[in-house]
């Protein structure tokens, strides 16, 4: 028999400065080659668990820095479009960023510098996860629970899950697969939620509404 229990977990993240700083794109590329994998995770995904409301169109810190500090619209746009979820592992993601920066450096003789204090600061994180003790066995009772879930739980199951699960699926989707085709529409609707252009509060609302609408609409 398939285990259909969903155990709600929670997490807390703490940021760690690596001490590495880049003042221009060349330095950024050079540090990226060797920096801790956790930095890539933090600068792409970790943003959702910390204060960040400006430049919502740029969904990673490298693109934000290129736009706000380097004032280089072209590289900023190229970096911003990187979707970290499509890479099988973090090393592939690292190679892609470096490739984009190298191409840009090749095409542009002038390498802009930022003023002291505006350097890109590399940060990684540690994440502490724990089981909340709440278990759900039926997707139909889930919609009410989601609206009360902590933002840490939303982050853990909807964002962090993508680097743990095959095909970058969120935990809700993996769970729904255990019910066969019964919740296929709900699963597809969850798949369509873009996690990168909203705050965790907004994301919680969106996931909750998706559950509610699909369940009420007969799945």
């Amino acid at each position: 028999m398939v285990d259909t229990d969903f155990r709600i977990k929670d997490c807390a993240l703490i940021a760690i400065a690596t001490g590495e700083k880049a003042q221009n794109l060349r330095e950024l590329r050079d540090i990226l080659k060797n920096t801790h994998q956790g930095c890539l995770y933090y600068h792409f995904w970790g943003g959702l668990l910390r204060p960040k409301f400006d430049d919502p169109e740029y969904q990673n810190d490298f693109a934000v820095w290129a736009s706000s500090n380097l004032h280089d619209a072209k590289i900023s746009e190229q970096l911003s479009i990187i979707d970290p979820d499509i890479y099988d592992n973090i090393e592939d993601l690292r190679r892609e960023i470096i490739e984009i920066i190298e191409q840009h450096l090749y095409e542009n003789e002038h390498v802009p510098w930022v003023k002291a204090g505006q350097e890109f600061q590399f940060i990684r994180s540690q994440i502490v996860t724990f089981d909340t003790g709440v278990t759900i066995s039926d997707p139909e009772g889930f919609s009410d629970i989601i609206f009360k879930m902590s933002l840490g739980s939303i982050y853990y199951h909807f964002i962090d899950a993508r680097r743990r699960n095959p095909s970058n699926k969120c935990d809700f989707n993996i769970w729904l697969q255990g019910f066969g085709n019964k919740y296929m529409n709900l699963s597809e609707a969850l798949d369509k939620i873009d996690p990168y252009f909203s705050t965790l509060h907004e994301l919680r609302e969106e996931i909750g509404l998706t559950f509610t609408n699909c369940i009420k609409g007969g799945i």
Binding site: D10, A12, L13, I14, A15, I16, A17, T18, G19, G38, Y41, R50, P51, F53, D54, G117, E119, Q121, I123, R124, S125, Q126, I127, V128, T129, F130, D131, T132, G133, K148, M149, S150, G152, T199, H201
Partner: protein
């Protein structure tokens, strides 16, 4: 009496408090000791005053001790504080000897507690050498730096660094403040306490009462900057901005700060500000005592726009306090303000008096934007800069230093938690 955590739950929601309870579960009963150099005055004491009871309520055996010294010790640590923030001033060897001896004396007094604690947090440079004497320590030691050390005066930093190398970790307010050290460099921004006198909700009657006592009418819009009279806070620039705005629309300016203090430069700047303001009846300079928390609270709540036109700033708590009161903040684009004020979302970051004037005029013309930004501002602080977030990060850090250094740490809680 209602427990503290229950009081905070009313502000931040039960889910946030439940999260803290779960995170702290494995830490129940551990001994955590915080050490700084003052029980009152200053942001560190303010935050510890509330963090310690909260940790205790979560079952952690948290204590707070202070180190004490003579006049020369404080003279040395004041010089050190300034030098770490960039002031090129050497510290005489005799003062450094006093600094070391004072720490040794304090170590002997606090020895048992320091050696028995599971985690010791040492705040700022004053007690930093305590670790050097604690040879029999059993716990983890973490140095918490509350100041901007991004451009320290090197000889003083080099001296202090000798005492910091053996710590298990350090905590910094912003990544740009960090100096490289061989241990893990955690980042935890400061926070404000929504239940403190400075931030608690006030009635309209109380707010009006304060304004009446100051002789300030609320008929025309009020711009307010709360800060020490310090050149880095650019009070003259604020008056210049106000004058540029005044040509177009009626407005008043309140500059509120500490009264005549023992800081000779503060007094001098205050005199310069008064002279520059002249006899303008719409410029109000309020000299408030350092403990006038409720008055400052009322002033911020009764204002239309909060200004913090700092030229250099660590983490401006008055900025976050203003945002928490639902006010847009126009602030200098410096230091931690970059993290605190999200440009065009809860206020504006500016670089010149002209920039500040332009934003003030825009907001005064658009009360709808004032209202919208004010709502954003309060929500932004609620989600990011309250003491509950600060506490969560402390708990996460304690778990990390005690339980594991790996990137992902999985806690096991009892099933019936």
């Amino acid at each position: 009496m209602e427990k503290l955590l229950e009081q905070y739950a009313k502000v931040v929601g039960n889910e946030v408090i439940d999260h803290l309870r779960q995170l702290s579960y494995p830490l129940k009963g551990i001994k955590v000791l915080h050490i700084n150099s003052t029980k009152e005055g200053g942001g560190v004491a303010e935050i510890l005053n509330r963090l310690i009871p909260l940790k205790r309520e979560l079952g952690i055996d948290a204590e707070w001790e202070i180190i004490t010294g003579e006049k020369d010790f404080y003279q040395c640590t004041k010089k050190m504080h300034n030098a770490l923030q960039g002031n090129r001033d050497d510290i005489p060897a005799s003062l450094l000897t006093t600094y070391e001896n004072t720490n040794l004396r304090n170590f002997e007094r606090l020895r048992t507690k320091l050696e028995e604690a599971d985690v010791v947090f040492i705040h700022d440079p004053q007690p930093a050498p305590l670790l050097h004497f604690a040879k029999e320590r059993r716990g983890k030691w973490v140095w918490r730096c509350h100041i901007d050390v991004s451009h320290p005066y090197r000889p003083v930093w080099k001296y202090l660094r000798e005492y910091l190398g053996d710590y298990d970790a350090s905590i910094w307010s912003l990544s740009s403040f960090v100096q490289p050290l061989s241990h893990t460099l955690y980042l935890i921004p400061p926070s404000i306490d929504p239940l403190s006198e400075k931030n608690i909700e006030l009635t309209e009657k109380e707010i009006s009462g304060y304004f009446e006592s100051w002789g300030i009418s609320r008929e025309s819009p009020i711009l307010t900057q709360v800060s020490r009279f310090d050149r880095f806070k650019d009070p003259i620039g604020v008056i210049q901005s106000y004058r540029m705005v005044k040509k177009y629309t009626p407005v008043q300016l309140v500059l509120a700060g500490g009264g005549a203090s023992d800081d000779p430069e503060g007094q001098q700047v205050l005199e310069e500000v008064k002279a520059f303001a002249g006899n303008d009846p719409d410029v109000h300079i309020l000299e408030l005592p350092p403990d006038a928390h409720r008055a400052i609270n009322a002033l911020q709540r009764g204002s239309d726009i909060i200004i913090q036109k700092s030229l250099k700033e660590g983490f401006g708590l008055t900025v976050t306090e203003g945002l928490w009161k639902g006010k847009p903040v126009i602030a200098g684009d410096a230091g931690g303000i970059k993290l605190q004020v999200v440009d065009h979302y809860c206020g504006f970051r500016v670089s010149t008096p002209e920039g500040a004037a332009m934003r003030i005029r825009y907001l005064l013309k658009r009360p709808d934007i004032i209202q919208k930004m004010g709502q954003n501002a309060r929500q932004f602080v609620l989600e990011n800069f309250l003491i509950t977030r600060h506490l969560r990060e402390y708990l996460t850090l304690i778990v990390a230093v005690l339980i594991g250094s790996e990137e992902k740490i999985e806690l096991r809680l009892p099933q019936n938690f």
